[in-house]
């Protein structure tokens, strides 16, 4: 980094350009007024908003003075839909909230339901969940990296990051049958054990991935344009971020090492040795750098989880929750009855309310589930980090250029499916 910090000699053209004193240039009719405000509507269909986000921006010249996010364009009532479905059918709709963090969403919901049921998930299922959630984190960060690099003008980055993303999606297809929204996590474990040879492919991927992250770094960290657009741009201090409820890489970039995987472990995260990358300045560059390092840390967790993957069942053996094995259906009357009841009605959950938070790619995903004792949840609420983090946009971009607004939005990584639910 040191060669970048060294003072640079300016070209003759730049010297001439900077010597012009704009303030002394007269306007068309005397001095131009500098107090005029312009309200600009950005979105909802702007490619740089990463979805259908509308921003009402108040500009003074090129400088953002105020910003109001207007959301709800992809509100699909998932929380309402969930109230009308048995618990096991809620998993696929919950996965579609934040569509880049489907395993995290499923984990939050399944974890909440398991807490209500008071069941312990088998160790092997917990490890398989960890492997999938960390792969999911890498996918999410890769999509963020590609699209946000595109926003600040680095086009080729998208193709490189999507190459690795496709590799992971192939792994998901191999283990779960689906590339996205897999419904792999079930209440009580995971639906099926991983196929033979899958862990070898995962380890193969883990071997190349840290090198690939270095390659991305080599491509972007030495890019003058990217650095100028990210460094010391739209920084926000830790205290303001905390007050606004911001979590995840955005908060860690400002130096607060809060990570639920470390602080309040769930699903056996306490078994793994990994580090929590944090930033110093809390500017856009730190937000970028923290996520880059997180991908490497995720690889470390996956490698450990594969190495230590215990043998055993992948689902609780409570037949009132878990589906009976397929081969028993032809021979066991009780298995057939339970299968029928579980598929048609679903299992019943004791009445109560729980909140289950997990650390996703964007921060704290907390699922609040209220059960009234029936087989359908009486209330499902997802505390989505994108929704809460979005409130920090105005604070971040106030008094900076409109071009920096685009870069900041890219580095915030909001997912509108999660914001609107």
């Amino acid at each position: 980094m040191s060669q970048l910090d060294a003072p640079r000699t300016q070209s003759a053209y730049r010297q001439q350009e900077e010597s012009i004193e704009l303030s002394h240039l007269p306007g068309p009719e005397g001095d131009a007024p500098d107090q005029e405000l312009l309200t600009l509507n950005m979105g909802p269909h702007h490619p740089a908003t990463h979805g259908v986000l509308r921003l009402l921006v108040t500009l003074e010249g090129e400088v953002v003075r105020d910003l109001k996010p207007i959301i709800g364009y992809v509100h699909t009532g998932i929380e309402k839909t969930a109230e009308d479905k048995p618990y096991w059918k809620v998993i696929p709709v919950v996965e579609r909230m934040d569509y880049l963090a489907y395993f995290t969403n499923a984990m939050a919901f399944c974890g909440a339901t398991e807490t209500l049921l008071d069941i312990e998930v088998p160790k092997r299922a917990q490890y398989l969940r960890v492997i999938h959630m960390e792969l999911n984190r890498i996918v999410s960060h890769l999509v963020w990296l590609g699209t946000s690099a595109l926003d600040v003008g680095a086009m080729s980055m998208l193709w490189y990051s999507f190459r690795e993303k496709e590799t992971i999606l192939d792994l998901f297809e191999y283990s779960t049958g689906q590339r996205m929204h897999t419904r792999y996590f079930q209440v009580g474990g995971v639906i099926e054990d991983i196929p033979a040879g899958w862990t070898d492919k995962v380890l193969e991927f883990c071997k190349i991935m840290p090198g690939r992250v270095d390659q991305y770094g080599a491509l972007l960290n030495k890019n003058e344009i990217l650095l100028q657009r990210l460094r010391n741009v739209c920084a926000l201090d830790e205290q303001t971020l905390v007050e606004l409820g911001v979590t995840g890489p955005l908060l860690r970039a400002a130096g607060n090492p809060w990570d639920l995987r470390k602080a309040m472990p769930y699903s056996s995260y306490e078994d793994f040795d990994f580090q929590v990358p944090i930033g110093v300045n809390g500017d856009n560059y730190d937000r970028f750098a923290v996520r880059m390092q997180e991908m490497k840390e995720s690889v470390k967790i996956i490698e450990q989880a594969v190495a230590m993957l215990p043998e055993g069942p992948t689902m609780v053996d409570d037949r009132k929750i878990a589906l009976p094995p397929r081969h028993e259906l032809a021979t066991s009357m009780e298995a057939l009855i339970h299968h029928f009841k579980l598929v048609t009605e679903g299992f019943r959950v004791p009445p109560g309310e729980v909140y289950f938070p997990v650390e996703g790619p964007r921060g704290e995903y907390g699922c609040f589930v209220r059960s009234d004792g029936s087989s359908k949840p009486a209330r499902v609420h997802m505390r989505d980090p994108s929704f809460v983090n979005l409130q920090a946009t105005a604070a971040m971009v106030k008094d900076s250029y409109i071009a920096d607004l685009i870069a900041t939005l890219a580095m915030m990584d909001p997912v509108l499916g999660g914001i609107d639910r």
């Binding site: 807490t115 309310e353 729980v354 909140y355 907390g366 409130q391 609107d420 639910r421």
Partner: protein, 169 residues
Amino acid sequence: MPDATGLELLAGELSDAEPESVLGTLHFRGQATILADPRHIRAILQRLREQGYQHLMSVHGVDYFPEEPRLGVVYELLDRVRRDRLRVKLRLHTSAPHVASVTPDWPTANHQEREVYDMFGVEFDGHPDLRRILMPEDYEGHPQRRDFPIGGEPVLFTKDAPIGSDYTP
């Protein structure tokens, strides 16, 4: 989570400091809940903030239809030093669903209170900008209430409408 005894002690301290502010406690599956009086919610959350619960992670609504008081507002508090969580809950009647906004104390509650207002019709007094957030501004009703039907949305089929008509129903 504070254990059952710790929760009782905390609730005792709160009701000593703010008389009649705590209506009850609940310890379920290792998670602690304080049932608060809606009139004292800001004071209770401030007291808990002094106790170390400095982060308001989530505000969400619940509808306890057909029980009364029907509407619930839930505040999820977090203490990052002791790594501890606490839930504060209040119940409101649908006839007068008013409660003081906590946005002046916790800026993070801004969008979340707007969502509760939008979905359940709870009005947060003192909120700087209480508008609908997810549903359209001219929408009628509060869709997350339990008596709001799924699929109750009128749909305008425009397939056979003559070209050039403005599709007004």
